[in-house]
Amino acid sequence: MTSPLSTDDSFVRSAGKQLAIYAVAAVVVITVLMVALDFIAGLTSSGASGAAGAVDVENNEITIYLREEPPQLNSTKASDSVSIMVLGHLMEGLLRYDESEQVEPGMAEHWEIDGTRVTFRLRGNARWSNGQPVTAHDFVFAWKTAIDPATASNYAFILYPIKNAEAINAGQLPLDSIGARALDDRTLEVELEQPIAYFDKLTAFTTYLPMSEEFYRATNGRYGADADEMLFNGPFILTSWVHGSSLRMEKNPHYWDADSVKLNAITAGYMANDSNTLLNLFKDERIAMTELTAEMLETAMQQRWHINRFMDGSVFFMDFNHRPERITSNLNLRKALQMVQNSGELVDRVIKLPGYLPAKSLFPIWLQGVEKTFREEYPALEYPYDIALARQHLELAKQELGLAEIPPLVLLADTTPVATVSAQYYQEIFRKHLGLEIVIDAQIFGQRIAKMNAGEFDLILNGWGPDYNDPLTFADLFASWNLNNRGKYFNPALDEQVRVAQNSLDAKTRMDAFGEVQRIIHEDALFIGNYERGWTYATHPQVKGILRRVFGAEADYSRAYIEVPD
C-alpha cells in the first residue's frame, strides 16, 4: 500500500496519462468515424447517378453554381449581379455584346443614330419563347415599366438619356410622354434628351430588355418570380426554378441565333458562396467552374487545375461622407488618410489574388481614351506615401475642426471576405499611423446601400462596376445629381465637366473633361483607391468557350461547349 504522500506526488502524472489516453482514444475514434463516413458517402454519391456531374457529355449539359439565389428575374427591377447574369442567358436586348466586348446586333437588325433620334429596326425572326414575335411595343412597354415611379427600379436612372424619362421617374410627367415610340411592330424610334455617343451600348444593358405587355398583365404582378411567370427571347429558357436550390435553363428553340448555342441545358445546381464548399464541389466534379479565393489558390495549384483570371472592370475605393456635419468633409483630414495608405500593399500582401490590381484612379486601366487607353493619356495622380506629412495634415484638420481629438470614424463595409479583410487592414493602418479610431460597420449588401443612402457613415468601402463601355459610367459618380454619390459631394466645377462630357460628341473634348474630373477628384482627395477587381477561377478542362464579361452577364455560358476527348 502506498502512502498518501506519494499518491499526492503522482496526481499530476497519472492524471495527465489519463487525459492523454482520452485524447488519443478520441482522435482514433474520430479518425475511424471520418474514414467510415467518407467511405459510406462515396458509396451513396456514386450510386446516386441522378445528381448530374459538372459535365454530362451524353445530354450535352453542364452544371454550374450561383453565388446566391436571384431575388427575382424581372429585368426592369434587377440590380444585382446574379440576376443580371441569369437574365443574360435568358433574354436579349436590342444589341448584345460579342466575344470581344463590342456591341453587335441582337433583337435589332440594324440601327441609325441621327443626333437625338435613334431608330432601331427589329429582325423578323425575333421571337418570344411562346412563339410570338418580339415587337417594338415590347421595348416601349418595358422601358415605361422601368421608369414608372411605382416600379421603384434601382436602375431607372440608366434610362434617363431617353427624352422625358427623368421627369417621368420623378413623377412630373405622365408615362406616355416617354421619348420612345413603336412606329410599327418592327421599328422603334427613340428620342433622346440630347445627343449621346454611347446610347447604342446602353441598350445592351439589362434594364433595356423587352417585356411582353400581354404576358406581363397576365402574371398579375408576379412577373419574374417563377419559371412559368416569364417569357424569354434569349438563348435559353428557364424550365425550372426550385427556390433556394436550383435553376435549370434549356436551349430556346425560338431564339433567332439558336445555331450558335451549343449546349442543350445549363443547370445551376448549387447556390453557395463559401470557399470550402465551392472547393469541394469543384474537386468532386459537381460544377464546371468555380471562383477561387486567396485561401483556395494553394489547393488549386496542387490539384493542377487550369486557373484563369479575368478583370470585371469594377473599381473599389474608399469614399467619404461630405455632409457638412461629418468631419470627413474636412479636406485636410481626407488628405491625411490618403497619405498613410498604399493600395499596392493591400493587393499584394493582404488580398493576395492574382486578378486584382491596385486602384490608382477612379478611371480603371482598361478604359479607352482618344487613341490609347485613357490612363496612358491622362495618367493617374497620386498622393505620396508620407506619414510625417499626413500627421501635419491631421493637425491642420484638428485646428480647422476645432477638435482636440478626432472622434471615432465609422467605416461602412460589405461582409464579403475581401471587404472584411480590407476594412480591418485600413482600421489598423489609420490607428497605427494617425492614432485614429475606426469603427467597422459591416453590413450585407442591401443594408449597406440603405445606410449609404441615409448617410450613416464617415467612410465607405465602395465599389463601382461599369454599366456601359464609356468613361462616363465612372465620371458621373461624384456628380451632385447622381443618387450613387453617397457622400453628397457637391462641386460645381466637377458637375460642369460631367455636363461637358455628356453633351459632347467629340472624343477629345470628352476625354479632356474626364481628365479634368480625375484631377478634381485628386485635388479634393475624394477617393482612396483600393483595387480594381479581378476574378481568379478554375474551369472544368472539358468545358470551353465560357466568356467572362465586363458588361452584362459576368459569366456567360451561352456560347460554351463541351469538348469530347478523342
Binding site: T7, A15, E295, H306, V350, A423, Q424, V439
Partner: protein, 464 residues
C-alpha cells in the same frame, strides 16, 4: 449460552492494574473534519479534477498575466509575416528600398535567352524579362509552386501581354521565401494557349528594407545596420493570422473575453437563480406556483432572438462590442435552471425533522435560511456554477463565431475560429489554436464540475 470459564485461565492480576492517562489517544482517532475540509480532501484524490483545476488556474494566468509578460498588441499587423505558421524561419536580409522598375536589366544578369531574371529575386519583387517569340499572338505569365509538367497546369496566371515582342514583368504578389516556378506561355491569336512555353525556377529569399527594420523595431536603435546584413523578423511563437497579427497575443486577448463572460455571467445568473428558487421553495404555496410558472415562461424564450433584441434595445451599433448585451441576455435568460434546482432542494430540506425541531425551538425564517437551507444547498449551487461556466464560454464562442460577439479588431476565441475556418486547408494553425483553447477550457471546467459533484455529495462520504 457460553460455558463458564475459570478466571485464572484468561485473566491475571496485571489486567486489573489502573489504566494510566495516555497523551496520544486523541491523536490516533481521526481529526474532526468540517464538510468543506472533507470535500476538499476528496476532491484532491480525484486526479482529473485536480489537473482541471490547475488548467483553469493556468488559463486565468494566461488571460491575466499573459498580456503583461507578452506585450504585443493583438491588433498590430505584421505585413511581412502573414499567415505564418509557428516556428517558421524568420531571417531576412536588408536591401535597398523598393523603387519602381523600368525594365532595365542588371549588369550581372545580362545575356541569356528565353524567360530569365533581370535582377536578383527577393521577396520585394521578382523581375523577369523575355525575348520576342515570332508567330506568337501574346503571352501569359504564370506562377506555380511546383515545376510545370506535361499536364500544362501552370498555376496562377499573373499577367497577360497582348504582343509577341520581348517584354518584362515585375511580380510583387504575396512573395514568400520559397521557390517559384514561372511559366511564360505563348498564346495563339484566339487567346488559347499553345504547347509552346518557357519555364524558370526562381528561389526567393526574404528581404526587408532599413526603414522597415527601424519602423518595426527589429534591431536595437543604436545598431549599425547596412544593406546585406541579416535581421530576424518579429517573433510570433504561435504564428500569425491572415493579417499578420500575433496569434499568442490574440489568444490571450480572447481568453480575457471568454473567461470574463464565462465567469461573470454564470456567477450573476446562478446568484439570481438561487435567490429566486430559494424564495419560491421556502415560501411555497401560491407564490411558488406563480414564480415557477414565470420561470417556465423564461425557459421558453429563444436565446438567440433575445440576444439580437438586446443588441437593438441597447443601441449596440454595428462595429461595437456586443459583450454587454450578451452578458445581460445570459443573465436574464439562463437563471431558471438554477432556480428550479435550488427550489427542489429547499422543498426537500423544508420537510426535514431538524427544520421542524428548529422551528419548534423558535427559530426565525432568516435563521432557518442562513443556518440550514443555504449551507445544505451549497453543493448543488457550486456544481451548477461549474457546469454553467463552460456552457457560457461556449455560448460566447458560438455568438462570436456567427459574428454577434466582439467587434474587430478585438479578438475572441469564437471569432478567431470563424476567421480560421476559411483558411483551414492552407493555414490550419489559425483554426487549431483557438478551437483547442475552447475545447481545453470547456473540458477543464466540465471535469472540475464532475469532481466537485462527487466531492460535495454528502452521501458519498461513506464510500471512501
Amino acid at each position: 449460552m457460553t460455558t463458564p470459564v475459570s478466571h485464572s485461565q484468561i485473566l491475571n492480576s496485571a489486567d486489573f492494574a489502573p489504566i494510566t492517562q495516555r497523551a496520544d489517544v486523541h491523536a490516533i482517532s481521526r481529526p474532526s473534519q468540517s464538510y468543506w475540509q472533507d470535500a476538499w480532501a476528496r476532491l484532491k484524490k480525484n486526479r482529473r479534477a485536480i489537473v482541471s483545476l490547475w488548467l483553469i488556474v493556468g488559463l486565468l494566468a494566461f488571460a491575466l498575466l499573459g498580456p503583461w509578460l507578452w506585450q504585443i498588441d493583438p491588433a498590430r499587423q505584421d505585413i511581412d509575416q502573414i499567415s505564418q505558421a509557428p516556428g517558421a524561419d524568420r531571417s531576412a536580409t536588408i536591401v535597398a528600398p523598393y523603387a519602381p522598375w523600368d525594365g532595365t536589366v542588371a549588369a550581372e544578369f545580362a545575356g541569356g535567352s528565353g524567360l530569365r531574371l533581370a535582377m536578383a529575386a527577393n521577396s520585394q519583387a521578382v523581375r523577369l524579362h523575355w525575348d520576342a517569340v515570332p508567330g506568337a499572338a501574346g503571352f501569359r505569365l504564370y506562377r506555380n509552386i511546383f515545376a510545370a509538367d506535361d499536364e500544362m497546369a501552370f498555376g496562377l496566371p499573373i499577367a497577360d501581354f497582348p504582343t509577341p515582342a520581348a517584354g518584362y514583368y515585375e511580380d510583387r504578389l504575396d512573395l514568400r521565401p520559397d521557390t517559384y516556378y514561372y511559366t511564360l506561355a505563348v498564346q495563339a491569336a484566339d487567346g488559347t494557349l499553345t504547347a509552346n512555353y518557357q519555364t524558370l525556377a526562381v528561389p526567393v529569399n526574404r528581404v526587408i528594407t532599413l526603414d522597415e527594420v527601424r519602423e518595426r523595431e527589429l534591431a536595437p536603435a543604436e545598431a549599425a545596420l547596412d544593406i546585406g546584413d541579416e535581421v530576424h523578423l518579429a517573433l510570433h511563437p504561435l504564428g500569425t493570422d491572415y493579417l499578420g497579427r500575433d496569434m499568442l497575443a490574440r489568444l490571450m486577448a480572447g481568453a480575457q473575453v471568454s473567461l470574463f463572460i464565462g465567469i461573470i455571467a454564470p456567477f450573476l445568473y446562478v446568484l439570481l437563480g438561487v435567490a429566486y428558487g430559494a424564495t419560491a421553495g421556502f415560501v411555497g404555496g401560491r407564490v411558488d406556483q406563480l414564480l415557477m410558472r414565470f420561470a417556465d415562461f423564461v425557459v421558453a424564450l429563444p436565446f438567440l432572438l433575445f440576444m439580437i433584441l438586446f443588441q437593438v434595445v441597447f443601441g449596440i451599433g454595428p462595429g461595437e462590442s456586443g459583450i454587454v448585451p450578451m452578458l445581460i441576455a445570459l443573465v436574464v435568460l439562463a437563471w431558471p435552471a438554477t432556480a428550479r434546482l435550488v427550489r427542489g432542494q429547499i422543498l426537500q430540506i423544508r420537510q426535514e425533522a431538524y427544520i421542524s425541531a428548529s422551528r419548534l425551538l423558535g427559530a426565525r425564517s432568516s435563521y432557518l435560511v442562513w443556518r440550514h437551507m443555504i449551507p445544505n444547498t451549497m453543493g448543488v449551487i457550486l456544481v451548477t456554477l461549474t457546469f454553467a461556466v463552460p456552457s457560457a464560454i461556449f455560448t460566447e464562442a458560438f455568438l462570436s463565431f456567427i459574428g454577434m460577439g466582439v467587434a474587430p479588431p478585438t479578438a475572441s476565441w469564437g471569432s478567431m475560429s470563424n476567421e480560421g475556418l476559411a483558411r483551414m486547408l492552407t493555414h490550419p494553425h489559425e483554426l487549431i489554436f483557438p478551437s483547442l483553447f475552447i475545447s481545453i477550457t470547456v473540458l477543464a471546467f466540465n471535469l472540475l464540475g464532475d469532481g466537485l459533484r462527487d466531492a460535495l455529495d454528502a452521501r458519498m462520504r461513506s464510500f471512501e
